[in-house]
Symmetry: C2
Subunit: 291 residues, 2 copies
């Protein structure tokens, strides 16, 4: 149970967590902080937060749980700004899609209060953003990865875990480094590939006609290219090492594929396509479109 | 109105067309031909076709409309096999995702009967295949591209157009070459990119864990990698020229993207992502997930 929850950044993720915890009866009071006053006021109108604060110190002061839900690129500025105002027993977590660079920033800024900072990442979202798009069931049945630090107290980890479980999530743990590699492969690489495809087509002469012939497969494939550009710029830079490694591996795979098509190597194409289909069909648990 | 419709290849596309035309009252009798007897018998059980033929000559004989709905790679063998049995007023069309190589094969095989062959391509489908997956509304509101030949009679084009309109489709026309370029960009390239991604992840050591963390975005992005490997081998080879051109353009785009990430060029990344998002949001008509 959380007495006072401070959500720093009340967008899709922060707003959905607030809604979920309120519905679950897991929180008494929710304080929202953000850079855009109009958006914060909308969060109050929608009943997502109880009240807003426009200074970080006031938002954090007296909170027993602080959730950092800003874009990843902003987090390094937030840690030093809130560090002096975090209470002795305050637990801090974040929702960043990259953990290595965020944890490094926390290390530099938090000092002894690192014990109460439990890095986290809910693997959930849509291509939409903003508090208007938030909904209470966003995390139901979804993975939330915690990457606890050696400095963390067991109680802090348990409180963050309990919070996400109250929101309906399936909470797991892994190391910071492993998290960033897994996410580079399953999320960051696909986003960049989709952006690259749409950008390429956008620059063709007959782009309007081309998009008009895009069928369902194309729409599914490129849905993630409608995601927030600033968020994905931040993620790309924050997870640079793992992402460049995956991008280069993909480039090698693509070269091989181009060689097979150009060389009329039907056997190789069929093998590759069949291996991919079998993997996708068997390894992906839930193929529902309605998510 | 079609008196006797012969569907050569009663799978997802052929089966769905049969169902749609029957529902629309646009056909009196439907004859199915295919290579797999069990699958043909299933088509009869499901009421998709009225009767089956296991020889091409018998299937085509007496039909006023013949729809070639086999994989693209098989079509070049079918044209010479059916040419002698096509009647003077029989109209022939196909559903191939590539038009250039299919039309070339028809040119070689059909002689004067080329007048009655109107190349076509319904831009519709799912990642599933087979008559079991067919449904009557597959083409409702979807584009069907006809690429009429200089040799075509106006009546033949009109009859193929009327057939697809009866199935609920939005019928347009373009040249053979332009069709293959547009489809390489919007369909064939995305399929190969999705196959390449899944294949790459399949070969990583921690592939089971990686797939278990795949969220909705990944599932959408890779859905087309669950498509039929033989069909996509055929398409890749049949549209080799346009596809290799698009693959190489994508490779250049990817190189540029890798350079931006590796070079920490946040401005360039944000511009590219924003351009792609704006294009996708504005140029794609219908973003429904329920298709």
């Amino acid at each position: 149970m959380i007495n006072r929850l401070a959500i720093l950044g009340v967008g899709l993720i922060g707003g959905s967590l607030a809604r979920a915890l309120r519905d679950a009866g897991h929180v008494v009071e929710i304080v929202g902080y953000g850079r855009t006053l109009a958006s914060l006021q909308r969060a109050v109108e929608l009943g997502v937060v109880d009240r807003i604060e426009t200074s970080l110190s006031a938002a954090v002061n007296g909170a027993d749980m602080v959730v950092l839900a800003t874009p990843v690129g902003v987090m390094p500025e937030i840690f030093p700004a809130i560090a002096p105002y975090l209470g002795e027993s305050t637990v801090l977590t974040d929702v960043g899609s990259v953990k290595g660079t965020v944890v490094a920033a926390a290390h530099n800024a938090l000092g002894a209060k690192l014990a109460g900072y439990v890095p986290g990442h809910p693997i959930a979202g849509t291509e939409h953003s903003g508090v208007e798009s938030s909904f209470a069931s966003l995390f139901v049945g979804r993975r939330v990865v915690l990457t606890p630090l050696p400095e963390n107290s067991a109680e802090a980890v348990a409180r963050v875990r309990a919070m996400w479980q109250a929101a309906g999530a399936d909470v797991t743990e892994m190391s910071v480094e492993h998290h960033d590699e897994v996410l580079a492969a399953t999320s960051h690489l696909p986003h960049l590939l989709a952006y690259a495809l749409v950008d390429l087509l956008t620059r063709l002469d007959d782009r309007r006609e081309i998009f008009s012939y895009a069928a369902g497969g194309f729409r599914d494939f490129t849905r993630i290219a409608s995601s927030d550009p600033v968020m994905w710029r931040d993620i790309s830079l924050a997870n640079q090492t793992a992402l460049v490694k995956m991008l280069n591996q993909y480039r090698t795979e693509l070269d091989s594929l181009i060689a097979a098509v150009a060389g009329s190597d039907g056997d190789r194409l069929q093998q590759l396509f069949a291996r991919a289909k079998a993997a996708r069909d068997s390894l992906i648990n839930n193929d529902s479109k309605k998510e």
